[in-house]
Symmetry: D2
């Protein structure tokens, strides 16, 4: 921690800081510059008191406080420098030498729609089935998902195709139920900082797909992962799905630099959702290629037998035919990256 | 709904659109321009099928779909053109002729800290006590609040001072419990689209302070209010608390235009949180004045007996003395606006 | 300057940093923490070598470099702690005890339109006349302004009403010409980092209204002022006019916290443009009040005799009648702030 | 154009709109919905009056005006559906079957630095040399470039290596001069809406590299291209270089979806600048691969013999060795895309 003092800080005030630091278990190293005084605080006390850093900022003669250490520990690269591989079901691994493709409908609508999509994506080479049973909808008048009936349909699709299932859980009260049906729990973008939900999935040992909040800086995203891991569940896969910016041509701005940056900062696998990221089916294919080229460990793609009849997000769903094309192109990029599909 | 077709759309495709619209209960009005064909859809079918609008966007020959009607109904100005007044406890009204000041600690730390703050803000003229018992923290290693013990302290402070209490609820499982202690439920910025939580508070009849998501457009904020109102709880007060932008000098960018715009669009009262909005105690006073001048119905202010010892958000908490000054200045602005404090 | 080293940095690498710092005229103060080594650099060399700070960031074992000193000097509060008053024409002062209102058409269209507007705003109490002769337009097919003919009309309006004129200059080749007709030069938002233009107006002694770039952080805005002041022209007035965010209900997001923050950081006067800031005439009045309450030294308002016939920005122009109302309400707020109008 | 009226609009007001439209050369098609009236305007008048669209928005009973036609014509896909190929110098083509790599120093510092870099990037397979002689710097105290001496060094480097040169021009007064030395003119991000400069380069026939404004929506970027093309210079290449968002881990947020989207909307070639886009040399390589996979026609890369001694932007410059690696990896991705390097 570096504390920058106002030009006007008196020796008494500097002393007030250093003694507060020493009481907090830090060693204080003041550096007296020409214009400012800066105090470096060394030492990582076992148990930091709440609000400690902000307390210094509240002092009127403190200009700013700069923290040096990354606030995440379990999610940090140093925790597992070789990188993590998260296992889903019996056969799927995310973060290793194979790119993992999750595909399926935005929303589970009917048995037939889900089953036909599951078969189509399996045939095209997908490794996991995605599909929403509990759907976050901006409008209370929109379809909210089939709930447990949707979970059952997904489980049937898994039984037939062998594809492990990833599906969103929104309510901490449903975590146990969703665990019974799904192989991987998805935390949606709106719930990235729903801490009670994060704690609840942190108490399970189910793999978790943690979508980035559309407002979240990368460090905050990794802190959300830290919440889950602190509960003992280290099976976290990050998912970049676009952030909110001023650009309106795309639904969100897919931040592929974040994929490359996370690979520097964390050992956790990262996948990309170009469907949510762009909101336009015609952009899904190029951004899928780009994601893999940027180093992503996988993709999650919305596929629908007839997007023009989808109950949700038809505009960003690809057809079976387009998905087949996507798989061929992504495979070629993956090979350049030294990975299999 | 206006559907804009690609230049290349054929008569058959136009026919496909119009017949789909008519099956959906709409009347279709095609307008053939020089470069584009545009189809106006009239009629608001009682029960719109899920994903209906997006289905049109999924058609490759559709360029875009523009919705005309605001998606919110209960939150819309037209629902109650004269404006709503939300009553909290026996005596406080928000949205009427009096500006409502909610003040208190960011976080309930101890009995003494809370009680002394409650007394001080009461004496300075505040109408409600704020204070966090359940705290959303970016870090799992930070203080998460005293929980039910915090609620009890708040209730004691109310008993002594008579100030009704507003406090955050984060977990749908805690809504009933928080209702027992608090007079008003706060939905925090991170939970603005936590739909299970919104539904749960919508099932109570407790007044709700709905903070704007730091990523949320104004229409999405009003849709969150719609979720609560649809459950039958119309006692919603909106709270502008800053949005996330590229500016780093302030913690968020407080969007006071949103206050003025919401007054055009909705009948719901709006208050402003300049503490969260700016993150700096020195900016709280000027932004409090500006908020009232923009037409806000109230303020929510973080106050701490000794901000440099606060467990959370000390940097944005004002002292008792500064709060007194704030009350005096806000009172003068309120009078210009024709309101009492 | 604080240099944070990677955990893996070797003693040789630390030595490499310290000797580079010492060659650069700094004293190096290494602090060895538990996890990181941090090197504080003290001393402000007279003539810093170009790219010096970034050179450290280019070293693979350097994690980040934090600069401590504000990069602006002439624009900083410390340069003139009592605040600056900028004089325009014979009688107008910006930054003192009077709020300064600049009003007039977005664009000079005709002699009659400009003259009638000038008379109306003068009568309502405005202190300066605004109006565009050179107009930045997103489209090359839109009206680009009357150019020198527009300047002449503005000069005639000044001759009749006595109101000093502020108008935009976009091209460094036109600075001399615009100086002949106008009392104050406006740098528009798109040109805030047009450095050749800034240098050119810095070579004059005309007062300058420097609008904030819609993408600019506050420190970058102050650096743009520094460019002008470095040329010897210290008559700079800052103008907050909204920044670009994800919100689409307003044309920009008017950042009134920036006004309050600039008052802490700089001695320069700050005015607010609620017309550009919101893009909607109905929001101009409340945001004008809020701006003054936040501490702004003035306003710049678009007024048009018949907004529904304006050649540009009619949607954000107020009528004469609304402007009269605005003046009355702003006057009342100014009085609360201890200022005259 | 679609005009949406307020619920309260009277028949007289509707008539006022339709007659104004007809006077403007449009045909008006009112559609009377259950809640709103919407008026479709058909016909593209030869010469639209300035501010026409905004005039409707200024009417108090108009809720909003939606424009249907894209505002750009020469930059639109329809203008040249097969796509454009821009030729630079004798041998380089951008937009065809070959990916074009522009590489070189951020800033021309010395003859030796420029020459050694030019030789190195040529040897590694680059097609063009980049380098700044006029440098936009946030600080007036920073190095502003060598000016004409820098241009001469670039011309010497071209003479020896045969690589055509791209360099930035910032001041309309320098366009002619820069044309004498450079093969391609760069418009920097800060000047994307510097209309006098755009017009000036539009009057030349030199190819132009038009960087996206860090605040600019894609439609505004294409409108900037339209300014240049309207002058008769159709040799425009777009360059995505990152937009400004709340994320601080990267210098900007590189928007690769914009590349894919522009390929749908425009015939102009698009290249990507991952150096400016990310600000970190370690991210340049993955984002270079991703850009080509997203469909970009080329890259512009900052290369420096010793980034830790660069005068500017050392943090984002790659070494010769890293550039060689970049070329190998980009070549492999280009081949998958069916392109040569």
């Amino acid at each position: 921690m570096i504390i920058v003092l106002d030009k006007s800080a008196t020796p008494e005030q500097i002393e007030q800081i250093t003694s507060k630091l020493e009481q907090g278990g830090y060693q204080a190293h003041p550096i007296f510059g020409v214009e400012k005084t800066v105090i470096g605080a060394v030492g990582v006390p076992e148990e930091e008191k709440p609000g400690y850093v902000e307390q210094f900022e509240a002092l009127p003669f403190v200009e700013r406080v700069i923290t040096i250490l990354a606030p995440y520990k379990l999610a940090a690269k140093a925790y597992r420098p070789q990188g993590s591989v998260v296992r889903v079901g019996d056969r799927v691994e995310i973060g290793g030498d194979r790119v993992c493709i999750m595909a399926g409908p935005c929303t589970v609508e009917t048995y037939e729609q889900t089953m036909s999509t599951a078969r189509a994506v399996k045939e095209a080479g997908a490794h996991m089935l995605r599909g929403g049973a509990y759907k976050p909808s901006t409008s209370p008048y929109s379809f909210q998902g089939l709930g447990v009936d949707g979970l059952k349909i997904l489980a049937e699709a898994r039984a037939e195709t062998g594809l492990p299932v990833v599906t969103e859980v929104m309510d901490p009260r449903n975590v146990e139920l969703v665990c019974q049906y799904a192989d991987m729990l998805q935390i949606g973008t709106r719930n990235m900082q729903n801490y009670d939900l994060l704690r609840e999935v942190g108490n399970t040992r189910h793999p978790v797909l943690l979508k980035r909040g559309m407002w979240a800086r990368i460090d905050e995203w990794l802190m959300a992962a830290e919440y889950i891991m602190k509960g003992g569940n280290e099976n976290v896969v990050l998912c970049e799905r676009g952030i909110r910016t001023f650009e309106t041509a795309t639904r969100n701005t897919l931040d592929l630099s974040a994929v490359a940056h996370v690979k520097q900062e964390s050992h956790l696998p990262v996948v990309v959702d170009p469907s949510q990221g762009t909101g336009k089916w015609v952009l899904v294919l190029p951004m899928s290629r780009a994601a893999i080229a940027a180093g992503a460990d996988g993709l999650i793609i919305e596929v629908h037998p007839r997007p023009e009849q989808a109950w949700k997000d038809g505009a960003q769903s690809v057809t079976f035919e387009n998905f087949g094309q996507l798989m061929r192109e992504v495979r070629a990029i993956a090979e350049v990256m030294g990975k299999a599909l």
